[in-house]
Symmetry: C2
Subunit: 349 residues, 2 copies
């Protein structure tokens, strides 16, 4: 019998944040690809686009005019998925038809007035301003008595459902803990009770020892391809210190966090010399006014590309019905990302 090699043999890995397994088929990138390719938009965008509803001074669909903002600009989403209004409902006792109204607030966060920029192309201090804005929003939204959780995220690129290239993210704040967050909290809590320490702190310690999946680190944060990554170049930014929310971040830590965001997104762009699409978002403690010693601040990056600027990984049939599946080992992905330059390819001579 052959002995196991994680870069060659199919295996499953356990995701302790979600209590789920994923399938790794490291030998499978060898297959040829004749399927759908994404378009690789290399058009150059103007710094200001008169037709963009996010550019300073322009009018949005509801008639509001954006101010002449100079760094970040936040407004309520004109097409919010959640609404503030409370509605009354007769309680149901059904176990198979369970439904409950949900209240919330949806915001849009413009990262920069400049239409043609993206996070990897912004200066570190401009990224710091974005983090500062996230902090303010986390506080302001969390102060509403009906808001118990604040999800900060970004969809970047058309392939990730983003309909406007102007650099922006979103915040969905709501009454309930969403499914993925509730699962994460449950697992962090369980670990904390068992070990009296933070799951992600203990995990990061190991990662910093072996460095097998480490992509980048500075004094306060590290970027890894998690052991249980599902997307080909998925990464996780983890704080070295154990704290639960963005508010707990010191000035120095904020700068270090900005440095990690800049570094990983530049590496992403450099991977296929394209504006690399992803969905990213912060997982942190709820705003439910309870103590949450189990929470450990982290940020996920879920990028879909697999082989090139145009060939993505499809999470379809088996993945939807069976389980998430990846075609390259997390160790290999980490090595590839680690070796990429931190200077954006557009700045090369």
């Amino acid at each position: 019998m052959q002995s196991f090699n994680s870069n060659e043999h199919p295996h499953r890995r356990y995701n302790p944040l979600l209590d789920e397994w994923i399938l790794v088929s490291p030998h499978r990138t060898k297959r040829p690809w004749q399927g759908q390719k994404e378009s690789n938009s290399i058009e150059t965008l103007p710094e200001y686009d008169p037709t963009c509803y996010l550019c300073p001074g322009n009018e949005r669909s509801n008639g509001t005019k954006n101010p002449e903002y100079t760094d970040c600009y936040v407004f309520e989403n004109d097409f919010s998925a959640l609404l503030k209004e409370e509605v009354v409902i007769e309680p149901s006792t059904s176990t198979l038809f369970k439904l409950k109204p949900e209240r919330g607030i949806n915001k849009v966060v413009c990262f920069s007035p400049k239409h043609h920029l993206t996070l990897p192309e912004m200066e570190i201090d401009a990224i710091e301003k974005v983090i500062q804005t996230w902090k303010e929003q986390y506080i302001e939204l969390g102060n509403h008595d009906f808001i118990n959780y604040v999800q900060i995220f970004e969809n970047k690129g058309a392939v990730m459902g983003c309909s406007n290239p102007h650099p922006h993210g979103q915040i969905w704040a709501q009454s309930s803990l969403p499914t993925q967050v509730e699962k994460t909290q449950k697992n962090l809590e369980h670990y904390y009770q068992q070990n009296n320490s933070s799951l992600l702190k203990d995990y990061l310690e190991e990662e910093l020892k072996t460095k097998q999946r480490l992509v980048y680190e500075n004094e306060h944060f590290a970027v890894v391809v998690p052991f249980w990554a599902t997307w080909p170049y998925e990464t996780l930014i983890i704080s070295k210190r154990h704290f639960g929310t963005i508010i707990a971040m010191s000035k120095e830590e904020t700068l270090a966090f900005a440095d990690c965001i800049k570094t990983i997104t530049v590496k992403y762009d450099n991977l296929f010399e394209t504006s690399f699409p992803y969905s990213s978002g912060i997982h942190q403690a709820p705003t439910d006014r309870l103590a949450h010693p189990e929470w450990h601040f982290h940020m996920h990056f879920y990028p879909p590309l697999l082989r090139s600027a145009t060939v993505k990984k499809f999470m379809v049939g088996y993945e939807m019905l069976g389980e998430a599946q990846r075609d390259i080992s997390p160790e290999k992905s980490a090595a590839v990302l680690r070796d990429l330059p931190t200077l954006h390819y557009k700045l090369k001579q």
Copy 2:
């Protein structure tokens, strides 16, 4: 305070198969869409394509020549994600770095020798042959001592990662229960223990009473948009009789199942007058030689399209980090599908 209306107010619904909640924002389809559109391929395909590696008589990438098959044809995937070989591994005791080798067999099932057909365009008796082939494969694969679960599925359409339009599906058979199946089994089992009856049988009874989400039914099966559907036009085919696997299906039930597959896929094609993409698959009892009275045979259809042949629902940022979210109520989707003709649009005069 307004009183709750499920076609107007944001709410969450509970999925008892996965023990997860999803967010419904029924008012949200009103927003304009300026994002990515899929290409709507309306090219007419030939009945035989000399360059297709699935057509009868053609050579595959590994040099094998396909036989001149006349209905279904099954072969082992030339680029299998799972391999049969057993490998040895030193057991690890880590709680944060859990990994185990996984064995399995991947097969491809050609539904028809005709390159230009799809399930909705095939005759009922040809679909019955497909089901017959699935049965044989479930038995044959399940007979291997290292196979405990057989996942039958189809990826249809380029947008679902399908790289060849020749009508075909796949089977991934493996040692472990994949994550989604394990969750489903756990919830079916729990319900069975509590109520001494099948979750899906009880669920279907309710659906057949109100008919609010019923799309189609015949004597032995029903097609519903599940109460907890996440994809815009997601459906579930449920057997009326309580049985756990495809082997238990009588001749009459097989015909009725074929009729449901034909009907729902024709309705799908008719919705936007396009070859409607989806991933579909059967969930049924494992082949682990244990009794599974909790299992109730069913088939999921997960189609991505939302508004037209080219605009899909993106399950991205919030959905990946928070929870699945839909923009139209399941009741509305069901009404739309129910009212569509059962004659394929290409056959209209």
